[in-house]
Amino acid sequence: MSSAPSRLEAAFLKGHPALVAYLMGGYPDRAGSLAALVAVACAGADVIELGVPYADPLADGPVIQHAAEAARACEGSFGLAETLDLAGEAAALPGMPPLVVMTYLNPMMRMGLAKVGQKAAEAGVAGFIVPDMPPDNPMAVQWKREAVARGIDTVFLAAPTSTPERLAVVGEASTGFVYVVSSLGVTGERTQLPAELTDLVARVRASSPLPVAVGFGVSTPAQAATVSAIADGVIVGSALVRRQDDPSALGEFVGQLVSAVHTGGR
């Protein structure tokens, strides 16, 4: 690809590894999640992933799952439409980094892919991550048509189990960055990252020229520093969502992660 990097890709090309912070839309409530977005942006996160509360989150561990439940329980069921609306309000604030929506596929299909693309573009969303939509799926092909036309990136996931053929498919289809799932299983904090991670990141790099960010299980500044030494970005989710109802604690923690990541493990 020879075109200029997208807004999302550019967030990884600032001369230091990027911190990607995951927050749950509508948790603890709409105002609380907006306050969390502001706190995380002020603390220096380079990209913010905004999760859409969903009833059957196949790829998420207990922390994110329970935040989704709480968000759905409040204010008449917070979903994709409400998350896009929240993203629109956040994206208009000064200093807000690129926002990436992380959603399961069904809410998108329910809304209609064209309408999702249109609303996301209006909201200024930079990209989408859809964990149950593999890149070679017909829905992925349809969604990408909508997204590409509107300058929205679609990030696909590479896993520890991915074969070279799968990595090629994932690398080929992704735009913005490639999301490397560090470990088997669902999202959540882990005390140890797998030893094979370095090798996995190297294999993903060989399959795509895009920036590579690692997520699933990264939960402490020390782990984030280790990962930032091998990847272009570090994604932290559950450890932030756990603090999401307390913006000042959240901001302070993200500040620590940012310093750890921006120095790239050095």
Partner: protein, 410 residues
């Protein structure tokens, strides 16, 4: 068993396509982590089906261990009671472990063994698939864990005890309504974590491709045997074939051979009975085909009970095996094409049919199968007193004694 496990080019009906789609439904909507395992599974299944030794061993176990072929029993007092010419019951209830589920569990556990996996997991609703998988795992020396919702653990406690006796671990799932959909999600999540050493034995024609095709492959022995026995009994005309539909495995196992071997003009009516719970006009039912809209859940696209934001809804049925907000993708496609008709049956009608079969024939059916039985009076009114019907009794009712007693049947 004939060579019915894989479709061939000259079938009257041929599905799915190479990506696992039945019309628009089906496919593979899962985290990337399990994509390679699904590809591996497709290959292993195809190679097993082409391996004469594998098929011979499966046929042997289905005959000597499961007790196949299932009789095609002419239920004369039942036919008289409902006003039909003849009703033939396929007696899956006589299988070892008491339901059709063992046909599939045995096949998949043999596949697991062939793929070198030492550990299997399963989800279960009524507990029949859990018991069948725990049984096959005991037979083949595999480690087994069964995910089961806490509500189902309560209402199917006998099966929970059986699974434990068989050496399986029963993992309680306390999410959502604590029923089949929650157990399936928990099993899928667990599989994503343990995919390297664990084989996921899915219990119905649901889940990501190739599962719906594999489960159909192992269950279509039901319909294949029925066709053979109809021929042996010189029954050359059948008006309708009926089965209940949860995820859809006993129904597709019955219907697929009819679709495959008979051209459209000479097929009987194929009718699936799904759960209307307290009524399809309430929000307490499991009638995905009657009331659902297309959506993605548990790795596949099909009719689904969902809210306006695309969240799957909790289903409800007195029958744990039909208490599921989705339905297998092939049924979605068969509904749209009109090749199969689907009707919804309430708890109350199912209970009445349960009693009817019990009292007229001395056969106590599973509460799931009772949903199919409940269509008989309706079909008598529609098709007339000379009509000949075949109905799949997918399982026996031993597991349902507490529920039926609780429902006040004396």
């Amino acid at each position: 068993m004939s060579d019915a496990l894989l479709p061939s080019a000259d079938d009257a009906y041929s599905s799915p396509d190479a990506q696992g789609f039945y019309g628009p439904y089906g496919g593979t909507f899962v985290p990337e982590t399990v994509m390679p395992a699904l590809a591996e599974l497709s290959e292993a299944y195809e190679s097993a089906m082409q391996d004469a030794a594998f098929r011979e061993r499966l046929s042997y176990l289905l005959a000597e261990y499961v007790g196949r072929p299932s009789p095609l029993y002419k239920a004369e007092r039942l036919a008289e009671a409902v006003g039909l010419g003849a009703v033939y019951l396929t007696r899956e209830d006589l299988n070892h472990t008491g339901a059709h589920k063992i046909n599939n569990s045995l096949g998949q556990c043999m596949l697991a063994q062939r793929m070198g996996k030492r550990r299997v997991i399963a989800e279960t609703g009524a507990g029949q698939h859990g018991v069948a998988t725990a049984t096959a795992a005991a037979l083949l020396g595999l480690e087994c864990a069964v995910f089961m919702g806490v509500e189902d653990i309560r209402r199917q406690s006998l099966n929970v005890y059986k699974m434990k006796l068989l050496g399986a671990e029963v993992v309680p799932v306390d999410e959502g309504g604590g029923t089949l959909a929650d157990a399936t999600t928990a099993a899928l999540r667990h599989w994503v974590e343990r995919v390297e050493d664990t084989f996921y034995v899915i219990g119905s024609t649901v889940g990501p491709h190739p599962y719906p095709a594999i489960v159909r492959g192992f269950q279509c022995v039901i319909g294949e045997e029925t066709l053979v026995q109809l021929e042996v009994k010189n029954i050359d005309h059948v008006d309708a074939v009926i089965a209940c539909v949860g995820g859809g495995s006993n129904a597709i196992g019955m219907f697929y051979p009819f679709l495959r071997h008979l051209p459209a003009g000479s097929r009987p009516l194929l009718i699936g009975a799904e759960a209307a719970g307290l009524g399809v006009e309430t929000d307490k039912h499991g009638a995905a085909l009657t009331k659902g809209t297309p959506g993605v859940m548990h790795g596949f696209y099909s009719y689904l009970l969902q809210d306006d934001a695309g969240n799957p809804l909790e289903a409800y049925s007195i029958s744990a095996g039909l208490d599921y907000p989705g339905v297998g993708p092939e049924h979605g496609s068969l509904k749209d094409s009109g090749l199969v008709r689907y009707e919804a049956v309430t708890d109350a009608d199912a209970l009445e049919a349960f009693v009817l079969l019990t009292r007229t024939e001395g056969i106590i059916p599973a509460i799931e199968s009772s949903h199919a039985l409940a269509l008989l009076p309706r079909l008598a009114a529609e098709l007339g007193p000379d009509a000949v019907l075949v109905l799949n009794v997918s399982g026996r009712g031993d597991k349902d004694m507490d529920i039926v007693r609780e429902a006040g049947v004396e």
